[in-house]
Amino acid sequence: MKKWHVMQRKAQMKTTETIIVLIIFFILLAGGMVFYAKIQMYTSRQDAEKAQEQDAISVEQKIRHLSEIPCTNDGTVIFDCYDLSKIRALQEVINNHELYYSSIIFKNSRVTITSVYPVADEITLFEYAYADEATGVQLFRTPVTLYDPVSASYNFGYMTVEVYSS
């Protein structure tokens, strides 16, 4: 009876050992998984920031290459020059095609065109409707030439594209 008890205890100890090893193994595994998940979260947060930045650049590029507002010479586009009369005309057209401009072109941005010299003026081309709720803003400023066809004069200025993130 004594021998039987000893053998039983030995077998129980072996099973307990295995269970303890397994518990330790799973604890280490869980620790590893938590660590991996944290790294993944950090990486995906960084990726999201990068994607947001790229998104902002994409919006800025889209605005710079709009067919509606550049200065043209018999249809030939003059790069980084914007026609003030086209900008004003576009302001009207945006109201008629709100959905197109807000969802496809300007998205979550605010676009202002500022004339610095010789005439100081500022035109807001597009205003993001939910700017107040945004958590951050990426700002792009590009020096531009502004052409006024009525007075046939050129102004120096800059275009500001503020891209909001939510």
Binding site: I69, S85, V93
Partner: protein
């Protein structure tokens, strides 16, 4: 003896149970890691496809914004699929996308002409401005060096064919060849092991022998479009129907499009874009008219921005989105605006476009 046997058997059962237990847990652990490996592999594959498609999207955007610039880009071996549905359009674009490795990106408002599928590692992008007479949009053409474009023409159609060939010559990456024939029956083609051959025939509709082409190309994939018209406008005949083109960039759109529906879909998108751009030009012209009407010194300028000029601008956009496009209306409006612009410059007035 009986008790010893019993104890021995229990010990054996315990040892056997221990092994079964270890085996069971081993299987669980092994399948857990195999599962993780499979999941990780799938996620990474999807991630890589996503990255490729994302990079491709940036590449297409950059290419589109650089008109008259051809680019050749090396990509990982991935099959790209382009779709565009002309029957599913909104006020601003049509349902369309490109996809690779199960990831797709919308091209709802992008005017992009391409074959339905592109495979291989070399992607060719090219963009041209579409002007009627003011710039409406940039057309983007996407193809691969494994696609061969064969331009065949006769004397009667040489003017347009030469214009297209000259324009295509600006893109050195495209695999192309030009064949001039006296009679359509003189045309012959050799198999160069291309993935796809697109024959662009500036000949009378249906004049080429399809059976001869089929046997010459050893039953490889190919198709044929006929073009009849000038540099400004004309008709394109695809396997599945006819379409109209206005301007060389639109004609080239047909050359690079997989079929009639794909071409019409993108032309529809261009028409919708023309509406918005046209509205801006019309509003600007109206504003210039009002400005010069109030300007006693330069009041003569108002003539170049009056209602007829504004109507010409509007008619171009209206025609481009009409179900039945009337090329004559567009041509008249374009030439009127061109003349008007020239006269405005002579008189020292601002251009309309």
């Amino acid at each position: 003896m009986g008790i010893i046997h019993k104890i021995q058997r229990k010990g054996q059962i315990d040892i056997q149970f221990n092994w079964v237990f270890i085996l069971l847990i081993g299987v669980i652990i092994l399948s857990f890691f195999v599962g993780i490996a499979i999941w990780y592999k799938n996620t990474q594959e999807q991630k890589i496809s996503g990255l490729i498609v994302l990079e491709l999207e940036s590449l297409l955007k950059a290419a589109k914004e650089s008109p008259k610039t051809a680019r050749e880009t090396t990509l990982p071996d991935i099959t790209l699929t382009f779709t565009c549905s002309p029957d599913d359009c909104s006020d601003y674009g049509c349902a369309s996308d490109f996809s690779g490795g199960g990831i797709s990106r919308s091209t709802e408002t992008e005017i992009l002409f391409a074959p339905l599928t592109l495979s291989g590692t070399t992607l060719i992008t090219w963009a041209l401005e579409w002007q009627l007479p003011y710039k409406i949009a940039n057309f983007l053409y996407v193809t691969a060096d494994s696609v061969r474009y064969v331009i065949v023409y006769d004397e009667d159609h040489q003017e347009t064919a030469i214009a297209v060939t000259s324009l295509l010559a600006e893109n050195s990456y495209i695999t192309k060849e030009t064949v001039r024939v006296e009679q359509p029956s003189d045309f012959s083609i050799t198999d160069k092991n291309d993935a796809y051959v697109r024959i662009v025939a500036f000949l009378d509709k249906g004049s080429l022998s399809e059976t001869a082409i089929d046997s010459a190309l050893d039953e490889k994939e190919w198709d044929l479009i006929y073009i009849d018209g000038s540099e400004d406008s004309g008709t394109i005949t695809f396997n599945d129907g006819d379409a109209v083109y206005v301007g060389l960039p639109a004609l080239l759109g047909a050359v690079f499009s997989s079929d009639l529906a794909f071409y019409q879909c993108n032309i529809k998108k261009a028409g919708l874009q023309a509406t918005v751009v046209g509205e801006v030009y019309a509003a600007r012209t109206a504003a210039l008219y009002d400005s010069f009407l109030a300007d006693s010194e330069k009041s003569y300028c108002q003539y170049y921005y009056d209602e007829s000029v504004q109507n010409n601008i509007t008619s171009i956009a209206d025609e481009l989105v009409a179900e039945e496009l009337t090329v004559a209306t567009i041509s008249t409006a374009v030439s009127t605006l061109e003349d008007n612009n020239a006269y405005a410059v002579i008189k020292g007035c601002p251009r309309v476009y």
